[in-house]
């Protein structure tokens, strides 16, 4: 078992105890007098109407999809950033020899004090390569983001009646085209 796994296990156990201990102590001192009113779901004092497991607005799914795409890409940025940052530090022509050896060994995950450090020129080349890599990678992401923006999926308040039309093709620029369709906020769920 590695150090990290051991710590995660211990922290999960300790976090559980932090919650459980007061609840167990509380069991000794708190009353338990359930009534049908107490056990009911709160709906401003009225009897509840229907189930609360209802369908909610589709806009939330759009946000979730956007999040998945973005967050998966951002997760890949982290290892890239360490490499790029290291190569930019090595590209410094005035870096001392021991610092160069230190940063090089860290970048290559080699033994500390890696004897021959990466030279400034090759570090700059590495940096340029990494730069064009991320430019392509990030560019794809940004094109997708721009597409979603243009399609109007980032608009939180949309007209309800023309929303299907707006999803099929971008909303028309001229205000006259919109006048034919009544514009009102989504009545389904304003939340």
């Amino acid at each position: 078992m590695s150090d990290l796994v051991l710590h995660i296990a211990l922290f999960v156990v300790a976090g559980t105890l932090i919650v459980m201990a007061p609840l167990l102590i509380g069991r000794l001192v708190r009353p338990s007098l359930p009534t049908p009113e107490k056990d009911a779901v709160y709906e401003c004092g009225e009897p509840t109407i229907g189930s609360s497991f209802i369908q909610f607005d589709l806009r939330f799914y759009t946000v979730a999809l956007l999040f998945i795409v973005f967050d998966v890409e951002v997760a890949f940025f982290f290892p890239w950033a360490t490499l790029y940052g290291g190569s930019m530090q090595l590209a410094d022509t005035q870096l001392s020899a021991e610092a160069r050896a230190e940063v090089s060994s860290k970048l290559l995950n080699a033994a500390p004090g890696y004897p021959e450090g990466i030279s400034a020129e090759s570090a700059l080349q590495l940096g340029q390569l990494a730069f064009f890599d991320i430019l392509v990678f990030f560019g794809v992401l940004l094109v997708g983001f721009a597409y979603v923006w243009k399609r109007g999926d980032l608009e939180w308040i949309r007209a309800a009646s023309n929303s299907s039309a707006a999803r099929a093709n971008p909303p028309p620029a001229s205000p006259r085209a919109n006048q034919s369709v009544a514009t009102k906020p989504d009545p389904e769920l304003v939340s």
């Binding site: 211990l10 922290f11 509840t48 939330f60």
Partner: protein, 402 residues
């Protein structure tokens, strides 16, 4: 000893060390949360002219929080009949465990982290973002419409704000080239350079990382669901949002987690942008070189400095909460999707281009004639350990082969 026996033998030392870490981190998880709840009352009273909190609770009002605890523990533990009982009870555990586990990676001083990981920042952000699962579970399992609305809003808000938050925290990583939180601070620390205090090594004084700090802080406030982004609770619209059906102690755990994660994100901000435990005037490195006991004194001093910095940021969050009114959900989402994400992406690209252009033009990745970030490389402690660990493993493997 036979290698097979050595492998099966249980090692107590790492376990005991882990338990010690948990106890120490637990103290720095619970204590600040309690202090910030007290501070929230006091600050709100001062800002909004509330009369109660400036008067009750004995000297400095310390009794009020204790009285609250005593009250909460006696409250009846209610769960609606229609609720999904198991998930309803599971939710506070997930929230507390997630925010507590994030502290595993936070270095309170040089080397004083429970786990000194080379992917510390990444893991810490990942742990913090698990909290949203507990919030969604709480809202969904309550079987209440208010709770469901609050939870879904919260989910949308938290996942949206996570994107610019992660991109902004990448900005110092691009400039420093490490994800190890300990090394990030070591690189930012330094000595006086020709009249410049070491403070100017901090990322906040970097022309790109400085704006990223502001962007990060806005997103961090939102991801802790603090006002003006507290749409999940929004008591004027949703009764209490995802907390509607919770009561007593179970309810209070969500707040414990909220204050703890406020402290955690402020700690990340202090480490990434404000130089962590480095005081900025060279006192820390002076103490460290003092000889016997100097390293310990420097670490104690550094821990105080880091906690001060994080506390100032938490105070800022409290200040914002009691000053600004709550935004509407469409404003919250527009702020993130149409402003903060483009700003964060621009800052990220700027952080990538900035050193490349400078290196190509001048041969150095900085403008000020300060010590290069490469010179201030952190101790290769984690790297060292990995290397020697791998060496030890291969050694034991070859032994086993014999």
């Amino acid at each position: 000893m036979h290698p097979l026996l050595a492998a099966t033998e249980f090692e107590w030392a790492p376990l005991l060390l882990g338990v010690l870490h948990v106890a120490l981190v637990g103290a720095f998880f619970g204590l600040p949360a309690g202090i910030f709840i007290w501070a929230e009352r006091k600050v709100s009273a001062r800002i909004q002219d509330r009369l109660g909190p400036t008067r009750t609770g004995g000297r400095f009002g310390w009794l009020q929080s204790a009285a609250d605890g005593a009250k909460l523990i006696q409250k009846e533990d209610l769960a609606p009949k229609a609720a999904d009982q198991f998930l309803f009870k599971l939710a506070p555990y997930i929230v507390v465990v997630a925010s507590f586990s994030a502290f595993m990676f936070l270095p309170f001083a040089d080397g004083w982290a429970a786990v000194d990981s080379d992917v510390g920042l990444f893991m810490m952000l990942a742990m913090l973002s698990l909290e949203v699962i507990g919030v969604i579970l709480a809202g969904w399992s309550s079987a209440s419409k208010w709770a469901l609305f609050g939870a879904i809003r919260e989910a949308a808000q938290m996942v949206s704000y996570e994107i610019p938050m992660a991109i902004c925290s990448l900005v110092p990583i691009v400039l420093l080239g490490t994800l190890n939180l300990n090394e990030i601070v070591q690189i930012q620390a330094g000595d006086w350079q020709g009249g410049f205090p070491p403070m100017f090594n901090w990322m906040i004084f970097h022309p790109v990382a400085g704006p990223a700090f502001i962007c990060y802080f806005v997103c961090a406030t939102a991801s802790c669901k603090r006002a003006p982004f507290d749409l999940a609770e929004a008591e004027s619209e949703l009764v209490a949002g995802f907390l509607t059906e919770y009561s007593g102690m179970r309810w209070s755990f969500f707040f414990l987690a909220e204050y703890a994660s406020m402290y955690a994100v402020s700690g990340i901000a202090a480490i990434l942008f404000l130089g962590g435990w480095d005081d900025g005037l060279g006192i820390h490195s002076w103490l460290k070189n003092l000889g016997w006991g100097g390293a310990l004194a420097a670490n104690l001093f550094g821990a105080v400095v880091l906690m001060k910095k994080a506390s100032v940021l938490v105070f800022l969050q409290i200040w914002v909460r009691w000053t600004l009114p709550r935004l509407r959900i469409d404003q919250v989402m527009t702020t993130c999707l149409k402003y903060l994400i483009p700003i964060a992406c621009t800052l990220f690209l700027a952080a990538v281009v900035y050193p490349l252009i400078l290196v190509s033009a001048t041969g150095r990745p900085m403008i000020l004639p300060l010590e290069a970030t490469g010179e201030r490389v952190g101790h290769p402690s984690a790297n060292d350990r990995i290397w020697h660990g791998a060496e030890a493993e291969t050694a034991s493997l070859s032994e086993g082969d014999e």
